[in-house]
């Protein structure tokens, strides 16, 4: 199968859907000729024109409000926020309107919109352009939350997000845009709420999201050289969450390490740990559940500190070794 980058996979999913479905359009800051902050929509305005690739003023409140309104009228808007940190400005429209309307009006109106936005640290963009705020969105009933970690997942999940009749927050990790993977050329859909076992193993389960999937797979490689067989599970969507796959994996391995780039305190890892502790996997746990997440600090600008503030491959290896060998 051909390999393309994560960024190209996102663009392909957008373009293929826009060719088939006239209701789908995009709006965001500088997504036209400039192609968006990371170049995802580069070339699309030439194909689809300025009516369907709409540049907006610098106002996330306006972008999200426009999207909610047009979604209510039957359009399927895809809005782009330049950095997921700016979701703060869009939050009232997201939390109080997009997430609520379908429920409050008894299903008479739906909000079939997708909010695409780059998240995560590692680019030296400092505290206001590097956060991972997915747990905020996951806490609001009515919003679905997607975090694809590979090019193939990004394309299939984006198709499912666009097809969904509910508002979906679609996080694209900045460092993943340049990663490549096998991606089918035709349109396809990966159902929201279906985790993917990125690597099978028997000794410990790592549940990791976004960039941390790749660090966990790298750690799993190092650990396999030491005879430790790690299973890496990528939930792919936080809402809905695939409890069954995670629980079955922990039942098999007896150990759970959750790794995410978001701040550990109050992060989604606490939720995943609780889901497992409350499940039938509890009786299979043979070691305390552990979590790795970012330090409780704003993401530092200093590149050394920035790197140190989020979980590393070495930390994952160290923790799994301790857990498997009962070292502490």
């Amino acid at each position: 199968m051909r390999e393309i980058t994560y960024l190209e996979a996102v663009r392909e999913a957008l373009s293929q859907e826009m060719r088939n479905n006239e209701d789908v359009y995009m709006l965001g800051e500088d997504i036209g000729v400039y192609g968006g902050a990371f170049g995802v929509s580069r070339g699309m305005i030439e194909e689809f024109g300025p009516e369907r690739i709409r540049n907006t003023p610098i106002s996330e409140a306006a972008i999200s409000g426009t999207a909610v309104g047009s979604a209510l009228t039957g359009m399927r808007p895809i809005l782009e926020l330049q950095f997921s940190d700016f979701i703060t400005i869009a939050m009232d429209n997201l939390a109080n309107q997009a997430a609520k309307i379908r429920y409050m009006y008894g299903g008479k109106g739906t909000i079939p919109m997708v909010l695409r936005t780059p998240s995560g640290s590692g680019t030296g963009a400092a505290a206001q352009h590097s956060q991972s705020l997915e747990a905020w969105a996951a806490h609001i009933p009515g919003l679905k939350v997607v975090q694809p970690s590979t090019a193939g997942d990004a394309k299939g999940l984006l198709k499912a997000a666009i097809d969904d009749s509910n508002p979906v927050v679609f996080y694209e990790h900045k460092l993943l845009y340049k990663t490549s993977g096998e991606v089918p050329e035709e349109q396809y859909s990966i159902p929201l709420g279906k985790a993917d076992i990125k690597q099978e193993g028997t000794d410990a389960t790592i549940v990791a999201t976004a960039m941390m999937v790749h660090k966990s797979l790298e750690a799993a490689n190092l650990l396999s050289e030491k005879g430790i067989d790690v299973e890496v599970v990528d939930p792919r969507t936080l809402v809905p969450f695939d409890t069954e796959t995670v629980v079955e994996s922990v039942k098999k391995t007896g150990r759970l390490l959750v790794v995410h780039e978001a701040v550990k305190f109050g992060g989604i890892g606490g939720e995943i740990a609780s889901i497992v502790a409350e499940s039938e996997a509890f009786d299979y746990l043979d070691y305390p559940i552990r979590r790795l997440g970012a330090a409780f600090v704003p993401v530092p600008y200093n590149p050394v500190l920035e790197k140190a503030s989020v979980p590393s491959v070495e930390e994952i290896v160290e923790n799994i070794q301790e857990m498997v060998n009962y070292q502490s």
């Binding site: 299979y284 746990l285 989020v310």
Partner: protein
């Protein structure tokens, strides 16, 4: 500021200690160096002395409480000084003193945990305090998987010994327990039966039990028996003791002397054996198995190769009396190169002693009995005892072991040669 009293770490393997008794009550004055409480480690009972003078402000644990090493067990300070109501967990003084080992690993674990200091600090002390509480409440630390397996197998989790941190029981420990012995499986049934009393091994007894099982299962033991005519030795002892009626020499003292001299002639027996490496020792440090109530203690009489019978007698007397009073320190039970187990005072004909790892030999001595013997073609009555040498066949071969036995027999039957 009040000064901490903490559970001392007295050996590299000590993870926790049991409080036996406090010699002082809260409110009493203590001097530096004064014994304030007695604790039991996995090897030994020992008195803990005060490092500071002042008032014993607080004691957090009472008799039989098990406390992890370096955890605060009390405070000494000036009258009226405030101390925490509940045990604060790990001692700051103790962990600051400790270099490497457990302390540094704790630190590593903490630094790998990328949470905030505010977030980490409470969770760390919560963990240690709850561990202490669990122990003092008689609860068991076990993972859910271990508990589930124990439930399904009908095993009482209290009967399983944990290999994890602070004795935490993992699933494998339960599995090992199940496969380890059929009798273990019957234990829960016994709990229910009337007229049955259970006693869980702990402290020194548990250590001895574990070491016995380890030695017995991991060492290829060979035991060879030989008969020793005891008349001359009995005669010698009587004469010596007539000279010193107030300070008698025991048979054990004589056996130590004989064994020591025999080891001089057979250095290949005076070894320790670990990891495929034989260490030959210049010193003949001879352990003597001593029964104290339910305990088995093995104090070591050091450097017997350069000691006379009377000096061996003095050393063993002192060590045995310390053993009986529970005052042996770990150093007095370490460094042995050979062990003697003397059951001569009982009606034991012969037995198979278990080697005291990492030593490679142990000499068991049975009771002296009247036995028929043939001398010069005539049947005569002799006093004789059966000696049994168990040796580790990995480090010692049969022929040298047999030659050593010959020498022991020869020296015991011809004790005059001991002066050579």
């Amino acid at each position: 500021m009040p000064n901490e009293i903490f559970m001392p770490k007295l050996s590299s393997t000590m993870a926790e200690g049991t409080v036996i008794e406090w010699f002082k009550d809260e409110g009493e004055t203590v001097e530096i160096g004064e014994p304030i409480l007695e604790i039991m480690t996995d090897k030994i009972n020992i008195e803990v002395e005060a490092y500071h003078e002042g008032i014993l402000l607080k004691t957090y644990f009472g008799a039989d409480d098990v406390v992890p090493v370096n955890h605060v067990i009390g405070y000494i300070g000036e009258e009226g000084e405030g101390v925490p109501d509940t045990a604060p967990g790990l001692s700051s003084e103790a962990s600051a003193e400790e270099t490497g080992g457990k302390g540094s690993r704790e630190d590593n674990a903490a630094s790998s945990d990328t949470g905030t200091p505010e977030e980490k600090a409470p969770s760390k002390s919560d963990r240690t305090v709850s561990g202490t509480r669990e122990n003092s409440l008689g609860k068991v630390r076990a993972t859910p998987a271990a508990r589930a397996l124990a439930r399904n197998e009908g095993i009482d989790i209290h009967d399983v010994s944990g290999s994890g941190r602070n004795g935490r029981i993992h699933k494998q420990d339960v599995a090992d327990h199940t496969s380890g012995s059929e009798e273990h499986q019957k234990t829960p049934v016994n709990h229910l039966a009337t007229g049955v009393r259970t006693e869980k091994l702990k402290g020194a007894r548990k250590t001895v039990a574990d070491r016995m099982a380890d030695s017995s299962t991991s060492i290829p033991h060979v035991t060879i028996d030989f008969e020793v005519e005891m008349d001359n030795l009995i005669d010698l002892r009587n004469r010596v003791n007539q000279q010193n009626p107030d300070d008698k020499v025991s048979f054990s003292d004589l056996f130590i002397l004989i064994t020591s001299r025999a080891l001089n002639r057979h250095p290949e027996i005076n070894i320790t054996f670990e990891n495929d490496v034989i260490q030959y020792h210049d010193a003949r440090n001879i352990g003597l198995a001593v029964a104290v109530d339910k305990e088995l203690l093995v104090p070591v009489i050091k450097n017997t190769e350069s000691k006379s019978l009377l000096s061996i007698r003095d050393d063993s007397k002192e060590l045995i009396s310390k053993a009986r009073d529970g005052k042996l320190i770990p150093a007095e039970m370490q460094g042995g190169t050979f062990t003697i187990s003397n059951l001569g005072m009982y009606s034991i004909r012969q037995f198979t002693p278990i080697i005291n790892k990492p030593q490679a030999g142990i000499l068991g001595i049975g009771g002296t009995m009247d036995r028929p013997a043939v001398h010069d073609g005539r049947l005569i009555n002799k006093k004789a005892a059966t000696f049994s040498l168990s040796f580790d066949h990995r480090g010692v071969n049969g022929a040298p072991a047999a030659a050593f036995c010959n020498t022991v027999k020869h020296l015991a039957e011809n004790p005059v040669e001991l002066i050579l």
